[in-house]
């Protein structure tokens, strides 16, 4: 019995930053790296299932990223996951969610897990594509933004709850294996102590290349490409209060100001 959890190392932006010379991303000096907030929850969910089953399940963490992303992997391992897999090739530098999903699909084929968890989205790019794209590539049942889950290792189905627009919720049963993208708040993630993270270095991590997965750089071409990244000019807002007459005169003032009168 095996649960595979995909995790991403994300960038947390400083409040003052500069763009990269090519204008397509922030200069990496200006952000700090961290495990994606959502992935704390998906890892926790997998661990809770494992613990409820008396540890009778293996939790495998997968990340696609260079050596620096080992930190994210180790954080997840420190929490109690059994082993890790890190896939990297320099051609993945510009990968989008779909490209990542292609890589992950190969890992899933290799590992044959009974369940795959991803975060609902990543806290830096927030496109919320990867998990669902992975499900599509595998042809597996999927549910996005899961906020409650009932599942025990070995079950053929899982019961889950999703929040819908307009305050609705739905409860659904899903066939396993499935890909679920996990929403914040589904549980209370545990903390990984620095000591635990260091000791997680002893846990096995497979470092795989595209070759190992039978992929070529061409087969993972991103479906999209960032052209420019920039901080839009700040707009202004002012709440005008007072009587109707006061509001009108303030409005007139602003118009005059803006027209430079």
């Amino acid at each position: 019995m095996k649960i595979l959890v995909t995790v991403k190392q994300v960038a947390a932006l400083d409040d003052e930053f500069e763009m990269r010379d090519d204008g397509r991303d922030v200069d990496e000096d200006f952000f700090e790296e961290d495990l994606n907030e959502f992935d704390h929850y998906s890892v926790e969910e997998a661990l809770l299932i494992k613990e409820a089953a008396g540890d009778d399940a293996e939790v495998v963490i997968v990340t696609v990223g260079d050596e620096d992303t080992d930190d994210a992997l180790r954080t997840a391992l420190a929490k109690g996951a059994d082993r890790g897999i890190r896939v990297w090739d320099d051609s993945l530098a510009d990968a989008d969610g779909v490209a990542i999903a292609r890589v992950l699909a190969k890992v899933v084929e290799r590992e044959q897990p009974d369940m795959v968890f991803t975060g609902a989205q990543s806290s830096d790019f927030g496109s919320a594509v990867t998990g669902m794209a992975l499900a599509g590539l595998m042809g597996w049942p999927h549910a996005a933004v899961v906020c409650a889950l009932e599942y025990s290792p070995g079950d053929n189905t899982a019961t889950l709850r999703r929040e819908l627009e307009g305050g609705l919720e739905e409860i659904m049963t899903i066939r396993c294996p499935a890909v679920l993208s996990i929403q914040l708040g589904i549980n209370e993630p545990r903390y990984a102590s620095l000591r635990g993270i260091k000791q997680a270095k002893q846990k096995p991590v497979d470092e795989l290349t595209l070759d190992d997965l039978g992929l070529s750089a061409d087969s993972i071409a991103p479906a999209s490409r960032v052209r420019r990244m920039y901080a839009p000019e700040k707009g202004q807002a002012e709440l005008i209060t007072g009587s109707a007459a006061e509001q009108a005169s303030r409005l007139a003032e602003i118009i005059k100001e803006l027209r430079g009168m």
Binding site: A12, D14, D15, E16, F30, E32, E33, D34, K79, E188, P189, R190, Y191, A192, S193, L194, R195, G196, I197, K198, Q199
Partner: protein, 720 residues
């Protein structure tokens, strides 16, 4: 006095006169059983302690022993903040000890040296002995009577054992058993003492016709006085003899029962406290226990993780309630009392560790079960060390709490509010979730450059600290301190982006791995810089660099800002032309005052500034924590609790006509401003950092003009 008519060998007490043989046999059987029960209890308790991890806390033995004897004989720690009760306890202690030694001497003479043909308990020795025993008996009774009065009529809240960490109805809520035990103890002891005197009196009545006894009767003055009363009431020698026989048995059996019960009841404190005082770590309040972070497992989650020292300390607590009274968490109705924590662990130890075989499964100590320590109890602690400071028997509650927190941190399960803070500390070395790059941003508000201590040598390396760097209110103080140092012409520098928190709170919250990583990184950085001394405005940083970094190879001379300011003012480097006409009071920061004993420098500075200082009722070593320490500043306060800062603000408000509540720590500033607002005192008095007062006295306050020199400073002052 006895005349030389008597052979001194005959001047003694005929112990078993008129005892038929069977009585003697019965007596010796009872005595042997009592001693056997006593010895078994002692052995079983020691066996319990030996199940802990060996701490080596009793080595080196002799210096520790001497220290302990000094503390016990002077009763210094018992008398502290409880003069009367402490003195009365000393009376009981000395009375009991002398009587115990006296009885042991009789046994020695009668049963050990006597049979070998050597007797000493007669003649002059016997007579002096009699007087000493009477004085000891009176001291014991007076002390016990006072304790009865104290329990019954003073009705001190700290002695009612109501526990804040359980709800009424919980199976382990009721602690009235302790109260009954206290009374049983007092009554038993006082009855033993009184029957001792009655026995003495009845012997005088009984043997009044034997000149050798009667002539020396005043060597048992109390007994003899009582004997006169008995005779006045018509008791004759025969009646006296019967009474003596009855009392002899009553007194003897009661005393033997008392001895037998020593290791099973609160009486054991006469031994356990000695062991605890000897093992006491004098650095316990400053330095948290060191630990190998590469070990398989750290912290305390099960009994088998406790050291033998802590296991003994659970049994050493006398329930005096001094820590209970001093604890800010308890005062704010948080579910923590250091005493109850210790008693909980004692009870759990007795429930699970008493049997001859150690428990098959390790016994967990943290959890929701009966007599387990609740996680919320552990998270309530401010690590203010008020408990360790005042405990008369050297119990180290704070390190115990930190050890248990370590286990919780390793398990990763604790208040979700703490997680973002710890993650921020892991990522960027500060607790405020800010980036490293932002740390020195406050320096932009200065009109001069602060030296970069990473790049050039400085005299003074200023370790700024987290709150002082990031918290907007504290930044004002930080800027003020920079201006003061600049105006005083001090060559100083900071570590800019590379400074990380020193780690005092990280260690106390239980994240030991992170603390050690921070300490090692900071030490490496400091060692790469050239400086003579370190200064910091933050007492937490001060404590950790001073007391905890040496363990990791960081040995520095560090001063708190208050000490440096005092010196600079004294040396005339800081002119203070502006007269400050404030009535102030001072809130001692725990990590400066109680924990490091640096209570004078801030007061000296206030004296130098001519401030009218009125002390708070609780000051110096008895200062009351603002509530920030031990990571509590990162956690919210549950609704049904009172914030320690508000309790403290109310205390300050009790001082009439106060202008300023002076604090001397960035975290105290943050907490006390809230406390003053929370109690509606913001119109009555202000909260100011000592540094701000110095800045104001220098006339630097509101005029950050460039190239400010002393002259312009005093001009500003004149116009102010």
């Amino acid at each position: 006095m006895f005349s030389s008519d008597y052979d001194p060998e005959n001047i003694t007490r005929i112990l078993f006169r008129d005892f038929p043989t069977w009585m003697l046999i019965v007596f010796y059987i009872v005595a042997v059983i009592a001693i056997g029960v006593f010895l078994y209890g002692v052995w079983a308790q020691i066996r319990k302690y030996r199940r802990g991890v060996r701490s080596g806390a009793w080595t080196p033995f002799w210096p520790r022993f001497r220290n302990m004897v000094g503390t016990v004989l002077s009763h210094r720690t018992v008398k502290r903040r409880a003069r009367m009760a402490g003195s009365m306890h000393a009376w009981i202690f000395y009375g009991f000890t002398l009587l115990f030694i006296g009885t042991s001497l009789i046994t020695l003479d009668q049963d050990i040296t006597g049979p070998l043909g050597f007797h000493f308990w007669y003649g002059w020795f016997y007579l002096v002995f009699g007087i000493v025993m009477d004085v000891a008996g009176v001291a014991l009774i007076v002390g016990l009577l006072y304790m009865m009065y104290r329990r019954k009529w003073l009705a001190l809240p700290k002695l009612d054992y109501t526990r804040p960490d359980r709800e009424p109805g919980d199976p382990d809520y009721d602690r009235s058993g302790y109260r009954r035990e206290d009374w049983a103890f007092l009554w038993t002891l006082i009855i033993i003492a009184i029957t001792g005197f009655l026995l003495e009196a009845s012997r005088v009545v009984w043997l009044q016709n034997e000149a050798i006894v009667w002539d020396v009767r005043w060597h048992a003055p109390v007994g003899t006085a009582i004997a006169y009363v008995m005779m006045g009431l018509g008791l004759g020698p025969e009646g006296g003899g019967d009474l003596r026989m009855g009392l002899w048995w009553f007194h003897g059996i009661l005393a033997l029962t008392f001895i037998a019960l020593v290791p099973y009841t609160k009486v054991m404190h006469i031994f356990t406290t000695l062991g605890s005082l000897m093992a006491r770590d004098p650095e316990g309040k400053r330095r948290m226990p060191s630990v190998d972070v590469d070990a398989e497992h750290i912290g305390v989650s099960h009994f088998s993780d406790f050291t033998d020292k802590y296991l003994l300390q659970f049994d050493a607590c006398t329930k005096c309630g001094k820590c209970h009274e001093a604890c800010p968490a308890r005062a704010g109705d948080y579910p923590l009392s250091p005493r109850d924590l210790v008693l909980t662990l004692r009870e759990l130890a007795n429930d699970t560790q008493w049997k001859s075989a150690p428990p098959a499964e390790p016994v967990r100590v943290i959890g929701e079960g009966v007599n387990m320590v609740r996680p919320e109890t552990l998270w309530s602690c401010r690590t203010c060390a008020a408990c360790i400071e005042i405990c008369p028997v050297g119990i180290e509650h704070l390190p115990m709490i930190v050890e248990m927190r370590r286990a919780l941190v390793e398990e990763g399960e604790f208040d979700p509010m703490l997680q973002p803070t710890l993650r921020s500390l892991q990522k960027s070395g500060n607790s405020l979730g800010e980036s490293k790059r932002k740390r020195p941003r406050w320096t932009r508000k200065l009109d001069f450059e602060i030296k970069d201590a990473r790049k050039e040598p400085v005299d003074v390396l200023w370790y700024v600290g987290d709150y002082a760097s990031f918290d907007p209110r504290s930044q004002k103080v930080t800027i003020a301190f920079a201006r003061i140092l600049n105006a005083a012409g001090v060559s100083f520098g900071i570590l800019y982006e590379d400074e990380q928190t020193a780690g005092n709170d990280v260690r106390r919250v239980g994240e030991e791995g992170l603390f050690q990583a921070l300490a090692e990184a900071n030490i490496e950085l400091l060692d790469s810089c050239e400086f003579k001394t370190i200064v910091t405005t933050d007492p937490h940083t001060y404590n950790t660099i001073k007391n905890e970094y040496p363990e990791f190879g960081g040995n520095y001379t560090i001063e708190h800002a208050s000490m440096m300011l005092e010196r600079l003012i004294r040396e005339g480097k800081i002119p203070t032309p502006v007269e400050l006409d404030y009535r102030v009071t001072f809130h001692d920061p725990c990590h400066l005052g109680r924990i490091n004993g640096d209570v004078e420098p801030p007061r000296q500075v206030m004296g130098q500034l001519g401030l009218d200082l009125v002390e708070l009722p609780r000051n110096r070593d008895n200062s009351f924590c603002c509530g920030a320490g031990g990571g509590r500043i990162w956690l919210g306060d549950p609704p049904d609790t009172k914030k320690p800062a508000e309790l403290r603000a109310a205390e300050a408000a009790g001082i009439g006509g106060l202008d300023v509540l002076v604090v001397n720590c960035p975290k105290c500033l943050n907490m006390m401003e809230d406390g003053v607002k929370g109690t509606g005192n913001e119109d009555n008095f202000r909260v100011m950092e000592l540094i701000e007062l110095v800045e104001e006295a220098m006339g630097l306050s509101d005029d950050p003009a460039p190239d400010e020199d002393d002259e312009t400073a005093s001009e500003t002052a004149a116009s102010a």
